[in-house]
């Protein structure tokens, strides 16, 4: 479309050019149709004028009607203020299209330059945000406004660069080192997800044996429950060809999310990460997990949850940050999700935190435990301190009594037997057979159908 700005105010008549700073159209990625819009910084600094915004809104609307993904490449100096109210109205149309399209077709945003001011809300309404290191920035109010209002001096990069959004704010899902890599990542991401909510994810022919046993699996998770390990190694060993496409890898690192494949089927992995904050649940990782769960559910991607969780992160900071309402999101998202859900306990699950990791009550269709698992209402030491407080205090040798009770308690609640006997788990699986069993369960669940009560929409805690 060779649309141009209708404005002639503030010298715009001399600056106007065809396209109005954004190119829109469709093409194919791996043989699949996609819609794309790309802002062009060389035309009026990629500023968003009314015609520009109309083109983007129309592009998103069309992708939704056709049922194909829409990819936005952002590179713009912001709203074109010369056009006044017309611009804000047109930008509103983009937000509306982004919002109502959410959950129908995938929306992917690549931030390949500045994406600032109110325009930053467009990618925020999409499913994935990829930023390019060093050249992309996202913020609502810029350095000059901040200086004027608060007196704070901050650079664009410190305010909203890729590092900030991928490590602190959690806005960005991925960071790439250059534009080419950014485009490659979009292709990789698309390979895991269907073109619309009414299709199934693309299945690839897997070269990895579905009956592959993983003899060293046990060594990846130390027996000593105090020892941390990198759960991403477990995920990679389970997935086809050791491939795991991690999202938000540097934010809320106490929980890992990302896509992989099992016998060619696309799956979403969610796992506690003992390397960070002992793998406990907090405000940020609840956001990270629930957003990912909802994406998987909206686009028919089965969810594999790997559990090794000591509890919620204690402290006034978390309570005041609203861990109650944030933590509730995980419970809500897992309960709401009707895609196949498979949960695997690697080592331990304590208290309420294990409910947040998709128990049978939260709708896990298959729940497996490894032989060394410990499931309890709380950790052994804490439980013994409460349950046997008096016995320990009154004992001739309190330390000896504590040790003895601890041993009794651990023996009673460790291992898979109680979990299986009481139907918390469907089955115990050996670490080396885990991949085989996950694939069998996943293929068994392909035809799963599960309805929810009819309603306009639920009220997810936010």
């Amino acid at each position: 479309m060779l649309a141009e700005t209708p404005s002639t105010d503030f010298g715009m008549a001399e600056r106007k050019k065809p396209t109005d700073g954004v190119v829109t159209g469709y093409g194919k990625i791996d043989g699949r149709t996609v819609y794309v819009f790309g802002q062009d910084f060389t035309v009026i600094a990629g500023t968003v004028g009314a015609a520009h915004a109309e083109k983007i809104a129309y592009c998103i609307e069309t992708a939704r009607k056709i049922g194909v993904p829409v990819i936005g490449l952002y590179d713009s100096a912001g709203a074109r203020i010369q056009e006044g109210l017309d611009v804000t109205r047109a930008i509103g149309k983009i937000f509306f299209q982004n919002s109502i399209t959410s959950g129908t077709v995938p929306q992917i945003s690549a931030i390949m330059g500045p994406c600032i001011g109110v325009a930053a809300y467009s990618p925020a309404l999409t499913d994935f945000i990829i930023m390019v290191k060093g050249t992309s920035q996202m913020f609502i109010t810029g350095p000059s406004v901040i200086r004027e209002v608060t007196g704070e001096e901050v650079s664009m990069e410190e305010l909203g660069g890729a590092k900030i959004h991928s490590e602190i704010s959690g806005v960005a899902d991925l960071v790439t080192s250059n534009d080419e890599e950014c485009l490659q990542h979009i292709r990789k991401l698309l390979a895991y997800i269907p073109s619309s909510a009414f299709q199934v994810p693309p299945r690839v022919v897997s070269t990895d044996d579905p009956n592959r046993r993983i003899e060293d699996m046990e060594n990846l998770v130390p027996e000593d429950p105090k020892k941390p390990y990198d759960v991403r190694r477990v995920i990679r060993r389970l997935a086809d060809n050791d491939e795991f496409f991690e999202l938000k890898p540097k934010w809320a690192r106490n929980l890992v999310t990302g896509f992989g494949r099992l016998h060619g089927h696309s799956v979403g992995f969610i796992a506690n990460q003992p390397l960070f904050l002992a793998g406990s649940l907090d405000v940020d990782c609840s956001d990270k997990a629930s957003r990912f769960i909802r994406f998987c559910d909206a686009f028919s991607i089965p969810i594999i949850t790997l559990v090794d969780v000591p509890g919620y992160l204690p402290g006034t900071k978390q309570e005041r940050a609203g861990i109650i309402r944030h933590g509730a999101k995980m419970l809500y998202a897992y309960s709401e999700a009707s895609v196949p859900k498979i949960t695997l306990y690697l080592r331990k699950g304590y208290g309420g935190a294990k409910q947040a990791m998709c128990t049978r009550e939260m709708g896990a269709d298959q729940l497996f435990v490894w032989p060394g698992v410990e499931l309890a209402v709380m950790g052994a030491a804490g439980a013994v301190g409460v349950l046997y407080k008096r016995e320990i205090e009154q004992a001739a040798n309190p330390e000896e009594m504590r040790r003895q009770k601890l041993e009794e308690f651990s023996e009673r609640f460790s291992g898979p037997f109680e979990a299986v006997a009481k139907q918390y788990a469907h089955n115990a699986v050996r670490p080396e057979e885990t991949r085989v069993r996950l694939i069998q369960a996943l293929e068994m669940l392909t035809t799963k159908q599960e309805d929810r009560p009819r309603k306009k929409h639920g009220l997810m805690p936010v």
Partner: protein
């Protein structure tokens, strides 16, 4: 000078480096215990250890500076 900070409240179990040691980014500086787990506190940058501010057995707050790297 880059501070190395404790990721969460916990007890210092042991210290893996001494002043003057050269460390790479992500090397373990100290090991803490919290939430029934050993938690490695790693170097945020590559550099030389200038100061260690804690000893084994100390309780540290979240975000407390445990060491400095130049």
């Amino acid at each position: 000078m880059t501070p190395v900070t404790a990721p969460m409240v916990g007890k210092v179990l042991n210290i893996q480096v001494k002043v003057g040691d050269r460390v790479q980014e992500d090397d373990t500086i100290i090991v803490m215990e919290a939430m029934k787990m050993e938690i490695p506190v790693v170097a945020p940058v590559t550099g030389t250890i200038q100061e260690i501010k804690v000893a084994a057995g100390d309780m540290v707050e979240s975000e407390a500076v445990v060491a400095l790297i130049e």
